[in-house]
Amino acid sequence: MKHLLAIDELGLDGLNALLNLTDHMVEINQRPVPKVPALRGRTVASLFFEDSTRTRLSFETAAKRLSADTMTFNVSTSSVNKGESLRDTVATITDMGVDAFVVRHKSVGIPWQISEWTKASIINAGDGAHQHPTQALVDCYTIREATHAKSFSGMHMVIVGDIKHSRVARSNIQAFSMLGAAVTLVAPPTLLPPDVSHWPVSVSHNLDDVLPQTDVLYMLRLQSERMAQGHVPTLREYSEQYGLTQKRVMNLQAQAIVMHPGPMNRGVEMQIDPSDVKNSLIHRQVANGVAVRMAVLFDLLGSGSNLAGQA
């Protein structure tokens, strides 16, 4: 595997190979000294044109635990402000000797575009409303860890919220389907893409109807600017209909799992403290983020055998 741009490019074997490799990385992270020399001499640059806490920090931590060197590109203090183009910026960093770029950008396809300009490996850390493949890997790994199920066949995943603007939803729909799960999207019509008929999903507008048949309840963040854009009448109305409340948690099956990719909007989609939800995996999602990204970096830069490509 040269790049990780979208989750479906991995194929089922590639997806499973990365999840299996993550088991090794989890063990490394549990060691008293959680560091291996596997990527000594490699350099990973993070190129974030959009804000991020957990994705950027977990990639940088992952690179360091594999002994790679890291470079952080900060748009707000870079020569982009002097008018340097994206292409020139990438060329400049490439010339310093970079083996991988971790890219986040508000526009769809920028990671792919950069992959055409540089010899380095590109990891998509989120492009517009398109893809966020490492988040999907984190979520699949977290579900696998909690359920001990290597296939999600027979499981029902319910993704709730702003599907229309969510790259997390798009990557997760693909990943959950590849692993055999049934996926239902729950959202108001204004927060669904115009046509999802070619997606492997069912659609509902009523959260309470689907809760009793849910195995994994995946809550998406509602960005407050969606109200100004007219997608939802008021945040209060949205959270009444689609937010996770104590009452809704009671209507879940006993073993149902609750997830959220973060950052959360408390009081909007999360009307309840996640620590009050018995089967919340939100903290595991963050904890597994480092190990999953170690697996991705090692597969791209170190395996020499294209581990995920062959499985």
């Binding site: 088991d23 008293p32 990527l39 594999l66 090692f298 395996s303 020499g304």
Partner: protein, 183 residues
């Protein structure tokens, strides 16, 4: 790593009984060298060394009665010096559920060859603490070292050509001649 290819031209270097006797002898030697089993821990290298580590530990427990020697398993793939040069094949996951600080660690592998796996293992051990001492036990030493590494306990010294395949299991050790050039 040793592959279990037994062709017409391969020959048996150790029988099942030879392997068993060697393991019993190594267990005794470990106790003798360390004047007992105080602070001793056995770590097998994934995957070929883990069954031998368990066997040695079982023997030691049997001989010393009152103790249970901790046994771990270490996968050295991510500590190797040939990452990016050769394809990586990951073994089973490491499992060392005890602190190695101050312990006398006996590393166990099936076949000692270039010594590169052992070098990687010595580095990997330090992630789990600083052992007081590290010793090396192998079922077979087939020679051709590329690093200054020497085993402390050896089941059998087995002169080989560099291209030979050596396979070690509890059923015995076989050598399959290979081309001189292949490695």
């Amino acid at each position: 790593m040793a592959k279990s290819v037994v062709g017409a031209s391969s020959h048996e270097a150790m029988t099942r009984a030879d392997v068993k006797r060697a393991i019993v002898r190594i267990a005794h030697e470990i106790i003798e060298r360390n004047h007992g089993v105080e602070g001793l821990a056995i770590v097998g290298l994934q995957r070929g060394g883990t069954w031998i580590a368990k066997e040695i530990a079982a023997q030691i427990n049997d001989i010393e009665k009152s103790v249970t020697v901790p046994v771990g398993a270490l996968d050295v793939s991510l500590h190797r010096d040939d990452i990016g040069i050769r394809p990586v094949s990951l073994g089973a996951i490491s499992d060392i559920p005890f602190d190695l600080s101050g312990a006398t660690v006996v590393l166990v592998d099936d076949v000692l060859f270039t010594g590169r796996t052992v070098r990687a293992a010595m580095e990997g051990l330090n992630n789990y603490g600083r052992p007081r001492a590290v010793q090396l036990a192998v079922l077979v030493d087939r020679g051709h070292r590329e690093l200054p590494i020497r085993p402390d306990f050896v089941g059998k010294n087995l002169p080989t050509h560099i291209g030979d395949e050596v396979a070690a299991t509890s059923d015995g050790v076989t050598v399959t001649p290979g081309s001189q050039a292949s490695r």
